[in-house]
């Protein structure tokens, strides 16, 4: 084989191996970044819901960490399971959008209240506000971490 071609061939071969490792390094970096973020504070969450009063589940005093989207309701698939006779299966959803918290009532049978006032559609929330679903009252607090 022509010596120039032979050199090119080996350059290509070594480049192939190098590129494989570049791709792997990028994957590894993403992996590590993820692990580091998780281990920094596994309990980190955007916000917390503290159960102020309750007739059943969840028990009063329980604290739930909530992230950008949290569903509230009787359905066991909800982020926060509210087991109250007046709660619907999918009762409300708590979201963090932009820089503020909002709660949205999902056409529940008995409605959602914020600080005593009924919620129609989407309501903005501040830290310290109380959400009421049935007989369960939940207070929004700042997150940890």
């Amino acid at each position: 084989m022509d010596p120039g071609l032979n050199l090119l061939l080996w350059v290509l071969r070594l480049a192939f191996l190098a590129l494989l490792w570049v791709a792997l390094a990028l994957m590894a970096r993403a992996l590590l970044r993820d692990v580091r973020a998780a281990s920094r504070d596994p309990a980190a969450s955007l916000g917390r819901l503290v159960v102020v009063a309750s007739s059943g589940q969840p028990a009063a005093g329980a604290v739930f960490g909530v992230d950008a989207v949290a569903t509230l309701g009787r359905d066991l698939g909800s982020s926060v399971v509210v087991d109250d006779p007046y709660a619907s299966a999918q009762h409300a959803v708590l979201t963090f959008r932009g820089r503020a918290w909002y709660v949205e009532d999902l056409r529940s049978t008995n409605g959602t209240q914020v600080n005593g006032a009924p919620v129609v559609g989407v309501a903005a929330l501040a830290y310290g506000d109380e959400i009421r679903i049935g007989d369960v009252r939940l207070r929004l607090e700042r997150g940890r971490g």
Partner: protein
């Protein structure tokens, strides 16, 4: 009821689903496609002396398929893992290059007017696998049917096994292949997925009982109560049974290792794992005592040079291939010297693809392949660690283990670290059933990694109109 049954179904929210860009995945896929392209160029240059990719249509189809899968995931809008697909694509691509490099007449299939060789068939299967993985990643939203029907799954797995035993065709002394018309596959590959689902569901449901309601066996050693030991005992019997009846040492080892791993995750009792290992060792020793094919495998593993032209030939040739590769290999297309027109390693495309990689891509290439498996396992375990409940955690961990342990077993066999077994190297070996089963694994892992809906944009002011704003509003 099981408690904490979290459904995969995402919350119904306005504007959902929505296409979401997946930049990290795109970047990684681009890097992988670039690497594979350069590799293909090197193979083409070595073969023809001209600077052209070895199989341009194949490469284009593979790249196109990956980008199409990526596009589908973007459109589906689910926030699933962005590293799994590129890692699997890296391995699949290396496998494709190896199959392209090998003589195409190793496997020939006629489909209609076309005659497909080794490389073409691998590409077809890769395409099908990619489609399956993407479909599962996009469509699998509820794990209810996985977790609730665990005994159905187990039963179907056993039925599959029985069918293979009764109707299967014998290849090299093992009855692993089931032939339906023109398509032949290895149901044991599918079985591993089914069993992982069963294990995860069973252990998730019973883990507290298994860990707490112990029965004292001897001194400080306790075991789970007998009723719950039954499925475990059945598993042991199944694994060893496979060895005996189907001569599939690899599958038995794989099932058992995955099971032990999941058992550890579920109960946290290290004694259980140790006992399980001891039981397996004892069972295996018994088998080695009574079954000549097990003895033969062990003898070849211990000293293949005792029978260099017979049983030990394949392994010796593989070790020579690794030796010839050295650090950077001989280059794609330049290794595997043929003697009299035949490859030095028999069945290299199914049993010893790692040896071919070792020879042509060197230790660097082998390490890259091993690293890619670690990435997949790592992501899988990460998904398990972040899972919302026990079942999903165990399922994700089990799926990750299935890929990682299988790769470790066959790589170990290729490198003479453990006896050789007949299982395939995931994503790299030739074999449709293997690719499909592993595609299902990747698809399920992607589905399990769904992080739920992302933070949405602030609502439009009109939607806030009918609202009384509380004093000291949001910052």
């Amino acid at each position: 009821m099981t408690g904490l049954a979290a459904d995969v179904r995402a919350p119904a929210l306005p504007g959902f689903p929505r296409p979401r860009p997946r930049p990290r995945e795109l970047a990684l896929l681009a890097a992988v496609i670039l690497a594979l392209g350069v590799g293909s160029l090197s193979l083409g240059l070595a073969r023809t002396g001209r600077l052209e990719p070895a199989d341009l249509p194949g490469l284009a189809l593979f790249a196109g398929g990956l980008l199409a899968a990526h596009a589908l995931l973007v459109l589906a809008g689910r926030r699933v893992d962005e590293i799994l697909l590129p890692a699997a694509a890296l391995l699949g691509g290396i496998g494709m290059l190896v199959m392209e490099r090998l003589p195409q007449d190793l496997v020939v299939q006629e489909i209609g007017p076309w005659t497909l060789g080794l490389g073409d068939l691998q590409l077809v299967w890769l395409g099908v696998a990619l489609a399956v993985a993407t479909a599962i990643a996009v469509a699998l939203r509820s794990d209810r049917w996985l977790r609730l029907y665990k005994y159905t799954w187990a039963a179907s797995g056993l039925v599959l096994l029985a069918l293979t035993f009764i109707f299967g065709s014998e290849v090299n002394g093992s009855r692993l292949t089931l032939q339906i018309g023109p398509i032949s596959g290895q149901p044991s590959e599918l079985l591993k997925v089914i069993l992982v689902v069963f294990f995860a569901a069973y252990l998730a449901e019973n883990r507290i009982l298994l860990a707490d309601a112990r029965v004292r066996l001897v001194g400080p050693i306790t075991v789970p109560p007998l009723a719950y030991l039954a499925p475990i005992g059945a598993m042991l019997a199944l694994a060893l049974g496979i060895v005996v009846v189907q001569r599939d040492l690899g599958a038995a080892l794989l099932f058992y290792a995955v099971f032990l791993g999941l058992l550890f995750l579920a109960t946290g009792r290290r004694t259980d794992v140790v006992l399980g290992l001891l039981l397996f060792a004892a069972g295996f020793a018994l088998l080695a005592l009574f079954f000549p094919h097990v003895q033969q495998r062990i003898a070849v593993w211990l000293d293949p040079w005792a029978d260099p032209l017979g049983d030990g030939y394949q392994l010796i040739q593989a070790l020579h291939a690794f030796a010839r590769g050295g650090l950077v290999g001989t280059g794609l297309g330049a290794g595997l010297p043929e003697i009299g027109g035949r490859l030095p390693i028999p069945a290299v495309h199914t049993d010893f693809p790692l040896a071919a990689i070792g020879e042509e891509l060197g230790m660097t290439g082998v390490a890259a392949v091993l690293a890619a498996y670690l990435v997949i396992v790592g992501r899988g375990l990460r998904i398990a660690a972040a899972a919302r409940d026990d079942f999903r955690a165990l399922l994700a961990a089990g799926l990750a283990l299935v890929v990682g342990v299988q790769a470790a077993i066959i790589a170990g066999g290729n490198l003479k670290l453990i006896p050789l077994t007949g299982i395939t190297l995931p994503f790299v070996s030739y074999g449709g059933s293997s690719l499909l089963a592993n595609a299902i694994v990747v698809g399920m892992l992607l589905a399990l990694s769904d992080r739920g809906a992302a933070p949405l944009a602030p609502p439009r002011p009109s939607r806030l109109a009918r609202l009384r704003r509380s004093p000291g509003g949001p910052s």
